[in-house]
């Protein structure tokens, strides 16, 4: 029996990140100042980003792992969101006496898991990447050990996450039984060659995948965990997991549905169209009644999963590129909004930190954060000249061209509804007086430099992409060419 050693060049970024994260875990034992750990993890992410850029496209491990423009695009999203999450974490953790080096290792490992997911060309690799990402994120959600809310959030995330991966595995086992293969492109050819398109078991497997990925991207009716988990988890972790794992879920979803189950496109569109509409409806309508900013942003994140699903439903290369474009824009505006929530954080004050009422009169007391929040809220609503408008515009345009006019009509209708709760925050900030007896929140001048950097980057990106989207669009278009 001859054993051929696989070519390791394509997995270099992931290998580097995992080894770096493990090494960081060791080095951290001798580091007293956790800011240094955070700094090292940022350097690791930067180097990983550079290796992603310099790694040539290729396939390794017998076709289980493929590097192409599509996976690289998603890897940039993951690295970017991880770096921004690390930057905003320091003070939040310090104020709760939970600043441990493991936090940064877990973020790095979770990022490595997402990168493996984006590159996965085999159902086994998808599962492994997904679990590496999910297991790290469960722990991150429960990182504030002394707080019941954080425990509860981790527990709910864990239970429903494990439940959904069981569905994914059952789907994989059915596909394997039918086709005898787990490689995505070979599954596609096996399905068309042996005439399995109308096989009810294959449709079952498809449904299992929809359930599993629906849980991961928090699409209705599989969204129930999201509000509780997002509310209870530490805010920087919420910012991270509302962007990274969601984008990773979409990356895998597009690959599985467009590559492996390509010949079932009519079937999965039929399943996904009602899910997308329901997701937008649930997210936008329930967000109207929220009194907690993190919970409101959780429902908003559900709604945005619905918008991104439209790009997937379109099923064309252009639609996928619009989805990718939207996901990166969403990363900027959402992390920006969460950074404002972190700036206004008051430490261990029981439960009052994240109330929506805290935003009342913010423009008078803290004009700069209020203005930035205004930009992010406009962008999340989709008002020009912000990036959110551009993202939605291209998403909807491609869907109309592909003939899904009614889905777009629903999306536009629900975006109008969403304006109410996003602009309510703006109204609170600019048109109401601060509440009496409120403990004053930390101001911009006392905020750590790292959060200021994130706010500057996100706000600039949101405005820049809104005015000049061509560069990003071209990049997304090139990356989606594999479909």
């Amino acid at each position: 029996m001859n054993f051929q050693f696989p070519d390791l060049t394509p997995v270099l970024p992931e290998a580097f990140l995992v080894l770096g994260a493990l090494l960081l875990l060791l080095i951290d034992l001798s580091i007293k100042n956790k800011n240094a750990t955070a700094f090292i993890s940022l350097v690791l992410l930067m180097v990983t980003g550079f290796t992603v850029y310099s790694t040539p496209s290729g396939v390794t491990f017998g076709g289980m792992f493929s590097v192409d423009a599509y996976s690289s695009f998603f890897k940039y999203i993951f690295i970017l969101s991880a770096a921004m999450a690390i930057l905003v974490s320091g003070r939040y953790l310090r104020w709760r006496n939970e600043e441990h080096g493991e936090y940064y290792t877990l973020i790095l490992l979770s990022t490595a898991g997402m990168m493996i997911m984006a590159s996965a060309a085999d159902l086994i690799t998808i599962y492994l990447g997904l679990e590496l990402m999910a297991l790290s994120t469960y722990v991150l959600a429960g990182f504030i050990r002394g707080e019941v809310k954080s425990n509860e959030s981790a527990l709910k995330y864990f239970l429903l996450g494990a439940f959904s991966s069981a569905f994914l595995l059952y789907g994989i086992s059915l596909i394997y039984g039918l086709t005898g293969i787990t490689r995505l492109n070979l599954v596609a050819s096996a399905i068309s060659e042996s005439g399995l398109v109308d096989n009810p078991v294959l449709f079952m497997a498809l449904l299992m995948f929809v359930v599993a990925f629906g849980f991961k991207v928090a699409a209705a009716p599989f969204h129930m965990w999201a509000p509780d988990v997002y509310e209870g988890a530490p805010t920087p972790v919420t910012a991270f997991m509302s962007v990274g794992p969601k984008a990773a879920g979409f990356a895998v979803m597009a690959r599985v549905f467009l590559v492996a189950l390509h010949s079932l496109q009519a079937d999965w569109t039929t399943v996904l169209v009602p899910i997308a509409i329901l997701t937008m409806a649930v997210g936008n309508i329930i967000a109207l009644s929220q009194q907690n900013i993190k919970r409101m942003l959780a429902y908003s994140s559900i709604a945005h999963a619905g918008y991104a699903l439209i790009g997937l439903i379109t099923g064309t290369s252009a639609g996928i590129s619009a989805m990718m474009n939207y996901l990166i824009i969403y990363a900027f505006m959402n992390i920006g909004a969460f950074s404002i929530v972190i700036i206004l954080d008051k430490g261990r004050v029981p439960a009052s930190s994240d109330r929506l009422d805290n935003f009342k009169g913010l423009a008078k007391t803290h004009p700069v954060p209020a203005f930035l929040m205004l930009i992010f809220m406009f962008s999340l609503t989709g008002i020009p000249p912000t990036a959110g408008f551009m993202g939605k515009f291209y998403l909807f345009m491609n869907a109309v061209e592909a003939g899904y006019t009614f889905v777009v009509l629903a999306a536009v209708f629900f975006s109008v509804i969403s304006a109410y709760f996003y602009l309510r925050v703006v109204k609170f900030m600019y048109m109401e007086e601060p509440e009496e007896g409120e403990i004053p929140a930390a101001s911009m001048s006392t905020a750590p430099v790292s959060i200021t950097i994130v706010l500057a980057v996100t706000a600039l990106a949101v405005l820049l992409i809104g005015v000049y989207p061509e560069a990003l669009l071209a990049m997304a278009k090139n990356s989606a060419l594999i479909f």
Binding site: L159, A166, G232
Partner: protein, 100 residues
């Protein structure tokens, strides 16, 4: 020889029992065990198919699933313990800090 469809039916039955246990029971530990049941249903399915197809891939995936399930158990129990230290309950209906 037992036909492969019997194994598939067994697997489907155990998977459904797992789903039912997860939805119907309110004890966190039992819910967690139900998830393990679902994972093992998948393992039966994969091993049976792997034998039927005379292909190793299914068994390789089973090894991965077993390893990941072990890691998952460690993390899940750690989360349950840290919650138990604060609340002294394993009943999901009592774990409701956040609602709405």
């Amino acid at each position: 020889m037992i036909p492969v469809t019997w194994y598939m039916m067994l697997s489907a039955a155990i998977f459904c029992i797992g789903i039912f246990g997860f939805i119907a029971r309110r004890n966190v530990i039992i819910m967690f065990i139900s998830i393990e049941l679902m994972l093992n249903a998948v393992n039966i399915n994969l091993v049976a198919m792997s034998h039927y197809l005379q292909d190793m891939r299914g068994q390789i995936l089973v090894f991965f699933i077993i390893a990941v399930a072990a890691a998952e158990a460690a993390i899940g129990l750690a989360i349950i313990i840290s919650l138990f230290r604060n609340r002294a309950t394993v009943h999901v209906d009592e774990i409701k800090e956040m609602e709405g």
